[in-house]
Structures are given as structure tokens and as C-alpha cells.
Symmetry: C2
Subunit: 212 residues, 2 copies
Amino acid sequence: VLVYDRLVAPELVDEAPEDALRIAREPLEQEQINELLVGYGRAGLDVVRLKGGDPYVFGRGGEEALALAAARVEFEVIAGVSSLTAVPAAAGIPLTHRGLASQATIVTGHDAPLDYAALAQPAGTLVVFMGLGRLAEIAAGLLANGRDPATPAAVIASGTTDRQAVVTAPLAEITAAAAELESPALIVVGDVVGLAGTLEAAKPKSTLTITS
Amino acid sequence: VLVYDRLVAPELVDEAPEDALRIAREPLEQEQINELLVGYGRAGLDVVRLKGGDPYVFGRGGEEALALAAARVEFEVIAGVSSLTAVPAAAGIPLTHRGLASQATIVTGHDAPLDYAALAQPAGTLVVFMGLGRLAEIAAGLLANGRDPATPAAVIASGTTDRQAVVTAPLAEITAAAAELESPALIVVGDVVGLAGTLEAAKPKSTLTITS
């Protein structure tokens, strides 16, 4: 049994054996997914829950895992390449860099309004998952709480894929600059974004990069 | 040319072609590594810089990349499985979990003393890279700034390897509990650590887990 997310690469779904039962996650509620995993697991089938992002970073993998644990169904979590690190890297953006950022904070736009007073502190890099739809609010919230309008910001859409599109702009202008981008997207705010131009320019791979 | 870190799995180093020049990173200063990469790159050799952690998360990959960019040597950063997400996952700890943590902050123990006043806020999960040697100071700093002494904390040593060892304890007791662990280790502080026992228990793989 393969239960997979929309964001999973189709090549990975194709890796399932021909006789595997393939179940798309999207029409299901979280509770239904948990029940499916538990039900098929209890029936003794080999079940793979193939997630389109980190299971344990805003991925609700913990909820699925707890449902399995409560039902005494054994499972193992196998970490993949994380969008948290791979997507900024693909855009030439280190999460930390000596002299520019010594820490990083990760939030999700689903939780907006966020604690902008705390997140506006310039100590490090801010990474927002699933925040493109609320980019205007997030940028305004950070600016209203004192974050420098000139702070470099980036939106990376479909990071690491053929469709990757990157927009960088000062925080005060990022919403307008990224208006044409579509989800899934990662927002990165902080001085490390200023390195993107230099590091991207030295890449041999051709990627669609829009810099404003 | 393969320039590799001590923490890299030997199986990966063995993947290099027989006639590759293998260079261990450890005796070298950062500036020397940069020079090697630039020198061999300019000479037209295929150079792999195989890092034992995320290049762009406290990995100084940004510095190496900037040196290459300044020398106009083309390069590509290929993200691997990140210790930031894989190591907590291997210990049954989600970085975020609905109702327990809606954000995560990543720092390095090398920067200690840290901004404990800011990091003691209970909003999310705190992940400390390379902090085992300063665990006593870090725990004391968080507690002195109001973090609840009962906050679950974990130290995960050699995470995801055969030698993985996990200690969990309330923050006030984590330093004593983890006294026998050795680097490399990741420290995780936050309510999500409380899930480790439940999620670990349901794992089929046998891992050395010490829980105090």
C-alpha cells in the first residue's frame, strides 16, 4: 500500500510494485489517513506513507506516528532530503553564515498571524513554510515590529525542481516582487539571502531565476 | 579530487574512483580548504567536497562557495539528508507537532554564550548543533531565563548511525543524564521531546536508546 502526497515526485510513486494499492492523500482528512495506515498496518500489509515534505517539520508525521503507536503498529520514519535545507541551498542561500546569521527559525504561514514581535529580531534567518498566500501579512508584520525594510528576502517556488523560480527583493518589496509565484514556496528572510546572487551565478546548472 | 570530513561515512569515501586524490579535511584550516578547492577547480579537475553535515547549516559551505564564486570556479551544492531533520526523527522527535511546537529555532553551541533570554521563550523547539561540550552552560542559561525546568530535553549522539545513543530528561537534569554521551551530538529542547518515548517504542529497528 502506498499513500502519497500530491507534492511527491511521480517517479517515486512509480517505484511502487505494480500490484501495490496506490492511494492519493489529497482528498482525505488527516483522521482518515491515520485510520488507513492503522488499518492496513494491522492487516499485515507493507504500507509506505510517502510524504511530499519532511514528516516531522510541519508535516503531521507525528500525528500519523502517534496513531500507529497507539494501535501498536510498528513503523519506521525514514528521513529524506529536507526542503528546509535543500530548497534554500538550491537558490544559493545558506541558512547560516558566519557574520550574517548564527541561527535560523522555522515557522509555517498556516499559523499566521505569527508572533511578529519575536520573529522580527534580526538575530538570524527566518524560514516560512507554506506562507506564500500570506506573504503580504507576514512581511507587514515583520516590518511593523521593526525589521529593517532593506532586509534581503526571497521566495523560492517549486525549489529543486525543473520549475524552480526564485525572487529576491528587500523585505519591503518582496510581496510585490513575488506576486507571480505559485505554491509550493518557501520564504526566507535575512542577510543570508544577500549571498544568493553571488552563489547562484557560479552554478553550472541552468535554473529559472528571477531576481528583482 | 575528494575533500572529505571526518564525520562522513567511510562507505561514501570509498565511492570515489580508485585514482581519485583523497584529502581528509581535518588537519586543514578553512582558508586552506578554500584554496585547495579553488586550486583544483581552476586546474580543471573534478572536485567533490563531501561534507559531514549540511553545507549550509553551520557547515561553512557558504564560505567555500563564496571562495569558488570569487575565483569564478563553477560549482553546484547538492543537498543530502540533513542531520537537522533526520537525527531528531531517528530519535522519535518531530521538530514541530500540532499543539506542542509550532516553530523551531536552530543554533550552534560554538556560539555560546547564546542569547538565552530569547531562546528561553517556550514558543517552539530549540535545536543546538555541536553543543554537547557546553550543555551545562546552555541548560543553565535557559533555566536562568525562565524556561520551565520540566521542559523535556534530549541529547542524541551519533544520530542515525549504529552507535546512536539517545538520552531524554527534564531540562534541569539533562546535563547529568547525558554525561556519558560523546560528540557528535544534537541537543533538542521542547515539548516535542516528550513524544520520543511513544514514537521510539513503536519502531521495529533496534537502536541503542538510553532514557533516564
